[in-house]
Symmetry: C2
Subunit: 313 residues, 2 copies
């Protein structure tokens, strides 16, 4: 059985690939909850929704968030009433947030709600929040701390990031199904999907029992580099690296993950980085990591699984 840790877009793509090569009982997709937040009274979980919509085949392929064939009449009317419209909420997408908020208010856990929605949308593989506790992602900037969606959506990642904080994470517990999975003896590997290390994967690893499992279990932990040719396919990962004084590269990803991962999957464009990474004691697999087509998602999933199995041998 494989555990896959995923953030939003890139994580969702590899998660989709993995669901196409592993049966539901051989894969658990663990999703970042660090950028969950309250907006207009609604509990919004961007990464859970991106993963869920992607696995259900109903994600918007252009935006990287939200639903395909979406409409915006709610937001238009909201604007007429003078309400905040900086965080775009589609008419269909809104049902997810409202029903989630209602169920949370009735005492259900994020885990059980996420499982219910996944089931209703026809997803057979388990989609599990990293934690049911509320945690936050704070982006530190020279002008002070920013909530992640403020930074990411409202300010379009323009402020300089000087660091990150995950309030709540130190006291958070891994969600129940994940805690239970940690006790299994058949976990083959943990796959860290090609999501932003600082704001998609770090909040997952900031949950103590998850970090402890990765660093103490005697199983391969394989990260897939989200950096290709010094750039991120999507999002601010490369920009953040530069701001933190690191040259964006798969080497930098390798260094970042050196304490939790033992192996890295890098793109063929970065093949020349394989030796320097290996020199630091990390195992490396070089393959195509760009997942534009569905075939590419499946192929990368197969490559990662084969690589994981080769590490155990």
């Amino acid at each position: 059985m494989f555990l896959a840790l995923a953030g939003g877009v890139g994580g969702a793509k590899l998660a989709l690939g993995l669901t196409q090569v592993l049966p539901p009982d051989k894969l658990m997709i663990v999703v970042n909850t660090g950028d969950d937040f309250y907006h207009l009274g609604l509990r919004i979980c961007p990464d859970i929704d991106t993963v869920t919509y992607t696995l259900a085949g109903i994600a918007n392929p252009d935006t990287g968030w939200g639903l395909r064939d979406e409409t915006w009449n709610f937001m238009d009317f909201q604007g007429r009433l003078g309400a905040d419209t900086w965080f775009r909420l589609g008419d269909k997408d809104l049902a997810t947030h409202l029903e989630r908020t209602r169920r949370l208010g009735a005492g259900e856990t994020l885990s059980s709600i996420t499982a219910l929605f996944a089931k209703k949308l026809g997803i057979r593989h388990p989609v599990v929040p990293a934690t049911d506790n509320e945690i936050m992602t704070i982006v530190k900037t020279p002008d002070g701390p920013l909530g992640f969606q403020e930074y990411f959506v409202r300010l379009k990642c323009e402020p300089v990031a000087t660091g990150f904080d995950f309030p709540g994470a130190a006291k958070a517990q891994a969600s129940p199904r994940l805690e239970k999975a940690f006790k299994r003896d058949d976990i083959e590997a943990v796959i860290i999907c090609p999501s932003n290390p600082y704001v998609s994967i770090a909040p997952i690893l900031a949950v103590p029992s998850i970090k402890r499992f990765l660093t103490t279990a005697r199983i391969p932990v394989i990260a897939v580099s989200p950096i290709i040719g010094g750039q991120a396919i999507k999002g601010p990962a490369a920009k953040m690296m530069k701001e933190l004084g690191v040259t964006p590269s798969s080497i930098a990803v390798s260094n970042y993950y050196s304490r939790v991962a033992s192996a890295l999957v890098i793109d063929t464009a970065d093949a020349h980085e394989a030796e320097p990474i290996r020199a630091h004691g990390m195992r490396v697999c070089v393959t195509n990591t760009v997942m534009t087509t569905n075939a590419e998602k499946t192929q990368l999933a197969e490559d990662v699984i084969a690589f994981a199995r080769s590490l155990r041998g």
Copy 2:
């Protein structure tokens, strides 16, 4: 200055007529809040919304509730997620409920939110909730009490109504602008719009200071009968009368309002009821009360105002 007490559809029609013949400083529209309720965590105020949308010229002319050119993608997706869909919420309409709920949660009053939305939608006349306190409308039935929207929307008015209760009303205060209006010395008359007496007007009158004003102020209180030819234009008023052992008629409306109103406007179709009503000490105006066209709304408003002024002379 005139006060108009209004429920949903019929009330909104006459309110619209009144706005076309009276300037904003000569009319206050006081709206029923008895059937307001919480649904999916949202505070929904059906009569305030119907009046507001009608005055803004954006009401759905076919349903009697909601917005014209509405879409239903939220509800469709909500259904996919297994959520309750018995109370229909359009995509645009939802913005009203969500923003109202958010503002109430932030401590704003229903009065101030209603005034804000009215302003944003270009309404110049004051639209005022009867009360800012939460009250309820309970329909008593042989099988037990029902919340009004349960009875009205989910059960389509099918249960037999044996009576009504308005929990919260006895301790409710009239909303601030209405309390202030009660102290003015230039109120010419109170107009009870042709709304359902039992579930649209009674909850307004159940607020003690409103009832006190109507019964002690020395000004005409004129009710417009919602019953024409023994039937209600819309809604369960006539059905309720039968279930309460009363023959649906303008005479029944006159009897119902005898303690608060001194005059009744009835439809030409009920002209033969004028004498029996007058015999009970009520002044009567017979005119066309069917408001299909805008001209009919304006004409009825003019007739009611002329009738009110004739009563003062």
